[in-house]
């Protein structure tokens, strides 16, 4: 069933106009069951196990259970994503646990500056793109024509 929702934790994103899991799933799989206000994966066999619904859910209601047709039962992989890092807990079938923490970005969320602080120019005809050659770290852009 790849991603699945724990009904005790899901609050339907408090009935805001769209739920977080529904907003993020690249394959449009997460939907809200309106009567009970609980989300679910409408087609587990089209799920990539990308974990985007898991990472974004504000109540940690979404989990993933490995594909039943080839993954032995009993393991879990659970992320906790913050603004600058992600912590993974890997629980093995035999009960052993591994934890890993990795950085995810080096800048504050939302603040990526499109030109990256590199100098720009105004020549629409040459081969140099907006931030080039500065963003290449070269004096000029490679060309075959002298």
């Amino acid at each position: 069933m790849p991603s699945f929702v724990n009904p005790e934790k899901c609050d339907g994103c408090k009935a805001l106009d769209k739920t977080a899991c529904q907003h993020i799933c690249p394959n449009d799989l997460m939907v809200l069951e309106k009567e009970q206000m609980k989300a679910y994966n409408r087609d587990p066999s089209m799920c990539w196990e990308c974990y985007n619904c898991v990472k974004i859910c504000p109540t940690q209601a979404v989990e993933v259970r490995g594909y039943a047709d080839f993954v032995p039962m009993g393991a879990s992989v659970t992320p906790m994503r913050s603004t600058d890092s992600i912590m993974w807990t890997v629980t093995f079938r035999n009960g052993s646990i591994k934890r890993f923490k990795f950085p995810i970005r080096t800048t504050p969320e939302g603040e990526a500056v499109p030109e990256g602080g590199f100098a720009t120019h105004t020549d629409l005809n040459g081969p140099a793109l907006a931030t080039e050659p500065e963003s290449l770290g070269l004096p000029e852009v490679f060309t075959l024509k002298g």
């Binding site: 993020i24 690249p26 394959n27 449009d28 939907v31 587990p44 066999s45 089209m46 799920c47 990539w48 196990e49 990308c50 974990y51 985007n52 490995g66 594909y67 047709d69 080839f70 993954v71 032995p72 039962m73 393991a75 879990s76 992989v77 994503r81 890997v90 079938r93 035999n94 591994k98 890993f100 990795f102 950085p103 995810i104 970005r105 080096t106 800048t107 939302g110 990526a112 500056v113 499109p114 030109e115 990256g116 602080g117 590199f118 720009t120 105004t122 629409l124 005809n125 081969p127 793109l129 907006a130 931030t131 963003s135 290449l136 770290g137 070269l138 852009v141 490679f142 075959l144 024509k145």
Partner: protein
């Protein structure tokens, strides 16, 4: 007809897709559009933060040339790609990407992507061209810059959850695109002076190895369905390399990446008898000279040697993870503390490789109690995919830049604007443009930037709004919404709606396509082998499928998208089969093998196999185009 409100949007540049190439395009186009007073509109079927092939994250940037530190030259990259594609590549296009790609990577770093550095502050390479990253949020960061570029400059607007289907045409010029919202009853008509198409490659054209719940766990993400190929074909654009599918060899079943194991950890792969196919089958490579003799050995030939083992009954093939980790740690064996630390570091790197880009593989290892330092894991060839930005090459035939042509190539490879297809005003990048493979995430972004700048120049030089025939739009709308009407009309005529003689549901349609392709067009079941008779049989069955596509039925918006995704896959399939038939040789064993023409024919087939489909008559035309060696 289903009651969908028309939403008409007029813009200058229309960007289709919100993946790596489109994010590059958005950043570049926003900059030039602001200077020129133009408008840019981006449309994505999903949420840009997590759409496309990089939605889950990646653990490596696969193209970095290292120009500023003199690590490699543009020509080095061209040589690498040409050899990997068995000689069939557009050197002008590859060189254009190679000359811009480092600046995309430098931008990623400024935007906040953590790239691994060594003690001296230099990027850590996985291999010659690959950089290691902490890439969980790779797409989030790249999309953020793109969104900021479009929205903060005031030149842009973004539509998410709008699924693009058909091109709008004004004679021989593209005039925009139509699609529908997957959330509301809205039919979108985008009118534009130029269209930039980058809606990814295609998966699920072939039957995946796993067809139960794990159907979605293809290597390539299930949400890219050949929208780019369909859109460009329907506009009448010439396509190239439609026979060059990609088959990755990955950890079996969950398709976890092997790059770090082969390149960073220097692991070996061995068969059931402990034999190493890359060593034992080396003489086979002579049959594919000159490409069999270069280093690195082309990806398809590496696949092929492993497949020969499997076909001879020598499988499974194992990645020798335990051996590789032991060897790496052995260097520290005289210092127990450093040894322990090194083992721990390697373990963490190995797991991060999966957790950043194929979490399923981590689940599979945990569920099977695999400790890579203790035992090997199986690897296997996946099913075929269409991903022109990776090691495949399928996509539209596009113009290269003027300044990267030789006197010889100029007439055939250049027609005014970098990245423009043979249709006026229709630009392509990433998986949507062909014969320029090995661009990967970074190169797709760089190509998107380069092509978007050319598209803005095109608009400045052709600054008129094309005419859009509203009656034609209404006809398209009726066709596109037909599956909803079909369902509405017939679903109550049987007790349950899933079996009904009047229609076919999108999933069964997909299974029918996959079965045809798997069995006749060199899928997994056919051991990646086909021949002329098989391919002709595939065409017969595809023709029946095409007729039945008019009977697709959809219960809701989501299913309507599924219907059109599968029509797109079907068109990708037809282009593929026709081009495999056209190319009378076997050039990429390991991707597919023509049993009736088992050898490479350098004299007659060192050329591009192109195709197009006339939008009004539906007739296909096959075209051979010359290959020029620009970087000698």
């Amino acid at each position: 007809m289903a009651n969908f409100e028309n939403v008409v949007v007029e813009t200058d540049l229309l960007i289709l897709g919100g993946g790596m190439a489109s994010c590059g395009a958005a950043v570049e186009a926003a900059y030039w559009a602001k200077q020129q007073g133009l408008k840019v509109t981006l449309v994505d079927k999903a949420a840009m933060d997590r759409s496309g092939a990089v939605a889950m994250g990646l653990s490596a940037i696969n193209q970095y040339v290292g120009l500023k530190d003199g690590q490699n030259s543009v020509k080095d990259y061209v040589d690498y790609v040409r050899n990997d594609l068995m000689g069939v590549t557009r050197e002008d296009l590859v060189a254009d990407i190679a000359r811009h790609v480092d600046s995309s990577v430098h931008l990623f770093e400024k935007w906040g992507l953590p790239i691994w550095k060594d003690e001296a502050g230099a990027y850590v390479h996985e291999g010659r061209w690959q950089l290691m990253i902490n890439g969980e949020s790779y797409k989030v960061v790249v999309a953020e810059a793109a969104k900021n570029a479009l929205l903060q400059s005031g030149v842009g607007e973004i539509f998410e959850r709008v699924f693009i289907v058909e091109p709008l045409m004004d004679g021989d010029r593209v005039a925009g695109a139509v699609g529908f919202s997957v959330r509301e009853n809205k039919f979108y008509i985008f009118k534009a002076k130029a269209v930039f198409c980058a809606m990814g490659g295609a998966v699920h054209v072939f039957k995946p190895r796993s067809s139960g719940e794990g159907l979605g766990r293809a290597w390539y993400p299930p949400w890219n369905s050949g929208s780019s190929a369909y859109f460009t074909l329907r506009a009448g654009a010439e396509m190239t390399c439609q026979e060059v599918r990609f088959i990755p060899v990955r950890f079996k079943d969950a398709y976890g990446p092997v790059g770090a194991w082969f390149l960073l950890f220097k692991s070996r792969a061995t068969n059931a008898m402990g034999g190493e196919y890359m060593v034992e089958r080396k003489p086979e490579l002579d049959n594919w000279a000159p490409y069999g003799k270069v280093k690195p050995i082309p990806a398809n030939l590496r696949n092929y040697l492993g497949m020969l083992d499997v076909m001879e009954g020598k499988g499974p093939i194992f990645m020798r993870t335990e051996e590789a980790m032991q060897k790496l740690a052995d260097a520290y064996k005289d210092d127990p503390k450093a040894y322990k630390a090194k083992r721990k570091e390697l373990e963490s790197e190995a797991w991060e490789d999966f957790l950043d880009m194929t979490i399923s593989q981590a689940i599979l290892w945990a569920a099977s109690n695999v400790q890579p330092e203790e035992r090997s894991s199986e690897i296997a060839a996946a099913e075929p995919y269409f991903i022109g930005s990776h090691s495949g090459a399928s996509g539209a035939w596009v113009s290269g830049p003027e300044d990267l042509q030789s006197d010889e190539s100029k007439g055939d490879y250049f027609w005014g604007y970098m990245g423009m297809s043979t249709v006026k005003g229709l630009f392509c990048a990433g998986d949507a443009s062909g014969a320029s493979s090995h661009k990967f995430s970074s190169g797709s972004h760089a190509e998107g930037r380069s092509v978007a700048k050319a598209a803005i120049k095109y608009i400045v030089e052709n600054n008129t709004m094309p005419n859009v025939d509203m009656a034609a739009c209404e006809a398209m709308k009726a066709t596109i919404l037909q599956p909803l009407d079909t369902y509405e009309q017939f679903s109550k005529t049987t007790v349950t709606p899933d079996v009904n003689p009047n229609y076919i549901l999108p999933k069964m349609f997909m299974f029918r396509l996959q079965k045809i392709m798997d069995e006749y067009a060199a899928g997994v079941t056919a051991q990646f082998i086909t021949n002329e008779a098989q391919l002709n049989r595939a065409l017969e069955l595809l023709a029946l499928l095409k007729e039945d596509s008019e009977k697709l039925a959809a219960a809701d918006h989501h299913d309507l998208m599924r219907c059109w995704e599968n029509v797109q896959r079907m068109w990708q399939a037809e282009a593929h089969v026709r081009t495999m038939l056209f190319r009378q040789e076997t050039r990429w064993p390991g991707y597919y093998f023509r049993a009736d023409m088992p050898k490479m024919d350098q004299d007659n087939w060192l050329k591009f196999a192109n195709c197009k489909c006339d939008p009004s008559s539906g007739e296909w035309e096959m075209i051979a185009r010359p290959i020029y060696n620009i970087f000698k």
